[in-house]
Subunit: 417 residues, 2 copies
C-alpha cells in the first residue's frame, strides 16, 4: 500500500465513527434501540443538518439536487475530472435500526476526513452522497434518489406519491429542500468516475464465517407491485355474504394465490407483503378497497422475470367478485458490479489483512442504479445475527471502522486513475 | 286514534324533517352523497350543536351524561314519572350515508315538536336521546353510549380506547363535553319508562315487499373480537421465508381458518373482517404485528354461542410461528323486544293505514341495551336497495315522515300509561 494511502487509512477514527452513529441514532430514536427516520421527515431534515455541520467544519462543499440527494465534496487537483463517489442513505424503515444506510454515509464522511487529515491530494474529487428516500417506507418505491439522479426514473413520476397520512412527496420534498438553503444546486445526471457504497450486510453470512469484509459482486433482482382490490362497502349485520363484494375477503383469496405462485422449496425466492391498507377500515363495514404491496426477489434473471410476469395474471384469476388493479412500481433486474471496482475493494481488504469474502447482496441498494452509469462496487460489514429492518439491528465499532478503512483505500486508488 | 294524538300526528312536517336531514348531511359530507361523522369528532360536535339549537328554539331542556349521550326533554305533567324515550345516534361510519342513525334522532325531534305544536299534555316526559358512538368505527366497540348508560358496561372500560391516529377516547370525549357547556348534567342509569327507536331498515325487505313500516320484534346476536398476531420484522430482501415470523402471512392463515369455521350454506351467519392494521406497514419490511377485527352475527342463540366460543381456538390452531391474542370486545346475545311495545307500534301503523310487517333486525342498535332496562321496540322505514354503511344510502321523504308519524302516536300512547 502506498504510504500516503496508508497515512489516510491510519486516520480513520473508530471512536469518532461510532460516536457519530450514536449521535445520528438519537434523531428519530424509538424504543428498543431503533430508529424511525422517514424520508423527507423532520427527523431526516435534522440528520441532514447534522451531517452538513460536520462537512462544513472541514470546508467540504455541500450541494443538493432536485430530489434532495445531498453531496459533500473534497476537491481534486484536476478541475475537469468527475468525482469518485461513495455514500448511502439517511432515511430508515419505520421500525429500523441504527446502521442501515447511515453507516455508508458516516463511513464515507470518515474516509473524506481521513484523506483530508492525511493531506492526500487526489486527481478526482472524492464525494460523499446521501441518497434521498432509499427505503421507500413512507413514499414507495425504494432507491428513489439514485433512480432519479441516474436518469433511470423521472422525478415527475414520484411527485404525487402520497404517504399513509395523505401527504404528497412533492410537499415533503419542498420542505426538505427549503430547510438547507445554503447548499449549492447540483444538476441531476452529472457524471461520476466511480461509486463504492459501504453497508451492513443485513444477512448472517459474514458473522457466521467470522469475516469482517464482504466484497459485494452483485445485487439480486427485485420487482415491486401495488395490488388494489375494489369492492363495495355494506352493513356487516344486514348484508348476506352472497350479496357482498368484500374487498378484504377477495384480497385474501388473491394473496393465497400469490403464496401458491411463489412457493419455492429451495427458499431462495423472497416474497413479502409488507404494506396493506383497508378502507373504510371499520369493524362493522364490509371493506370497499384494499391496497397491498408485493415485493419479490431472486438472484437468477430468468426466475425473477418468470415470477414477475406471472403476478398480474395470478391476481386476476383469483379475483372473482371484485375488480383488481396491479401497478408495477419497481423493476430492477439482477445487477453485476464492475470487475475492476470489485477487485479494487478486494485488494484493499487484503492489504489491510482483513478476513473477507466475495458475496452477492440480498437487499437492493442505491449502488444498483449507480452501476448503470459508472464502475460501481460495495463493501459489506457484519451485523449481529444478520438482523436488519428491525430495532435490534446491531454492529461492532471495530467492524464499522474496518469497512471505513477499506473504503478509504479503495476510494484513493480510484481517485488517482 | 284519540283526537289529540291525531292532532300531533298531523303536525309531523315531512318537509321540515327532510330539510333537517339535508342540513345534517352537510356536516361531514363526503363525495357521492355520503357522510363521515366519526364519534366525538369536530363533525359530531357541530351536529350536536345544530340539534341543540333546534331543541332550544322549542324550550326543550338539554342534558348530557358522562359519555356524552345527549338528552332533549319535553316535560310531562307528573314530576315523578320516568321519561318515555326515543332516539338513535349522530355518528356515522367512515363512509356512511345520510340516514343511518340521524333519522332516529330527527324523527324523535319531529315527534317532540309535533306534540308540542299540538299542545298535547303527557303524564311522562317525552325525551329524545342521541347516543354517543353507536357506530364504533373510530372507537370500537359500537353501541357504546347506550351500553354505558344502561350499566351494561363501565365507562372506565373505554376511556383508553384509541382511534387509528392514536387519539384516546377520553380526550376526544372531553372535547365533546366541553363544547356544549350549557347542557345540564344527566346521571347514568337514570330510569326510563319505555324506549322506541326509529331507523332505516339497512336491508332490502320492506322495499321488496312494498311496505312502509317495519315493526321490529328482535335483534340478532353479535360477537366482536380483536385478533392480534405478533411476529418479528425483518428485511424483505435478505431474510429467507423459513427464518421469518411474518405477522401478515400468519394472519392470513388465521383468516383462512376463520372462513372455514364460519362457512354457512344457508347464508344466515354474518362474518366480517372490517378493520385491519399492519405494522410497520412498509413494502420491504416483514410485518411484525397485525390487528384485525371479527364481527360475527346470527339470530339463533345456540348458533351464535357455538361460533363465538370457537373463534379463539380456531385462531390458536391456525397460528404456527407467531403468537396470537384474541380479545372479545362485544358480546350481545339475540334480543327480543317487549311484546307490549311491539303491539303499540303495530297498532299505530295500522291506525295510520300504513303497509307494515313484523321483522327482526340484522343490525345492532342502541335499542338492544335499552331493552335490558325498560320496555323497548323499534320502527323501521325502507332504504333504497337495502344499501347502508355506504355513501349511496338513500330513503324517501314520505317514508321518513311515515315513520315519524308512527313514532309520534306510539310515544303518546306510552306516555300516558
Amino acid at each position: 500500500m502506498r504510504e500516503d494511502v496508508q497515512n489516510a487509512v491510519n486516520r480513520v477514527d473508530q471512536h469518532r465513527l461510532w460516536q457519530r452513529h450514536m449521535e445520528m441514532a438519537r434523531i428519530g430514536a424509538i424504543p428498543g434501540n431503533g430508529v424511525n427516520r422517514a424520508a423527507f421527515s423532520r427527523e431526516d431534515i435534522a440528520a441532514r443538518k447534522l451531517l452538513i455541520s460536520w462537512a462544513r467544519a472541514r470546508n467540504f462543499t455541500v450541494a443538493m439536487d432536485a430530489i434532495g440527494n445531498l453531496f459533500i465534496r473534497r476537491a481534486g487537483t484536476d478541475p475537469h475530472a468527475a468525482p469518485v463517489m461513495t455514500g448511502s442513505h439517511i432515511d430508515s424503515q419505520p421500525r429500523g435500526g441504527r446502521f442501515d444506510g447511515i453507516y455508508g454515509v458516516l463511513a464515507g464522511l470518515e474516509a473524506l476526513e481521513a484523506i483530508e487529515q492525511a493531506g492526500v491530494k487526489t486527481r478526482h474529487p472524492v464525494e460523499l452522497v446521501a441518497w434521498s428516500n432509499e427505503e421507500g417506507g413512507r413514499f414507495p418505491p425504494c432507491t428513489m434518489g439514485s433512480a432519479v439522479y441516474t436518469g433511470a426514473r423521472a422525478l415527475s413520476d414520484f411527485l404525487e406519491v402520497k404517504d399513509n397520512e395523505g401527504i404528497a412527496l412533492k410537499d415533503a420534498l419542498a420542505q426538505t429542500l427549503a430547510a438547507t438553503p445554503a447548499a449549492e444546486k447540483r444538476e441531476l445526471n452529472a457524471p461520476a468516475a466511480a461509486y463504492i457504497e459501504a453497508h451492513i450486510e443485513q444477512g448472517p453470512l459474514l458473522e457466521q464465517e467470522g469475516k469482517v469484509i464482504g466484497v459485494v459482486t452483485a445485487i439480486q433482482g427485485l420487482r415491486w407491485f401495488n395490488v388494489e382490490v375494489f369492492g363495495e362497502t355494506a352493513h356487516a349485520g344486514t348484508t348476506p355474504l352472497g350479496a357482498r363484494k368484500d374487498a378484504l375477503r377477495e384480497a385474501i383469496a388473491v394473496i393465497n394465490a400469490l403464496h401458491e405462485l411463489t412457493r419455492d422449496a429451495s427458499d431462495t425466492l423472497r416474497f413479502t407483503i409488507g404494506r396493506m391498507l383497508v378502507a373504510p377500515n371499520s369493524p362493522n363495514s364490509v371493506p370497499s378497497h384494499v391496497m397491498f404491496s408485493v415485493d419479490v426477489r431472486h438472484p437468477d434473471p430468468a426466475t425473477i422475470a418468470r415470477v414477475g410476469e406471472a403476478i398480474e395474471s395470478a391476481v386476476r384469476n383469483a379475483a372473482k367478485r371484485c375488480s383488481v388493479k396491479v401497478t408495477p412500481t419497481l423493476h430492477d433486474d439482477p445487477c453485476a458490479f464492475d470487475a475492476a471496482v470489485v477487485d479494487c475493494v478486494e485488494r484493499a481488504a487484503q492489504a489491510l489483512k482483513l478476513a473477507q469474502r466475495r458475496m452477492p447482496s440480498g437487499a437492493s441498494h442505491d449502488a444498483m442504479y449507480m452501476a448503470r452509469v459508472c464502475p460501481t462496487g460495495m463493501i459489506f460489514v457484519p451485523c449481529e445475527g444478520g438482523i436488519s429492518h428491525n430495532e435490534a439491528e446491531n454492529a461492532r465499532p471495530e467492524d464499522l471502522a474496518a469497512g471505513a478503512r477499506v473504503l478509504t483505500a479503495a476510494l484513493l486508488e480510484l481517485a488517482d486513475r
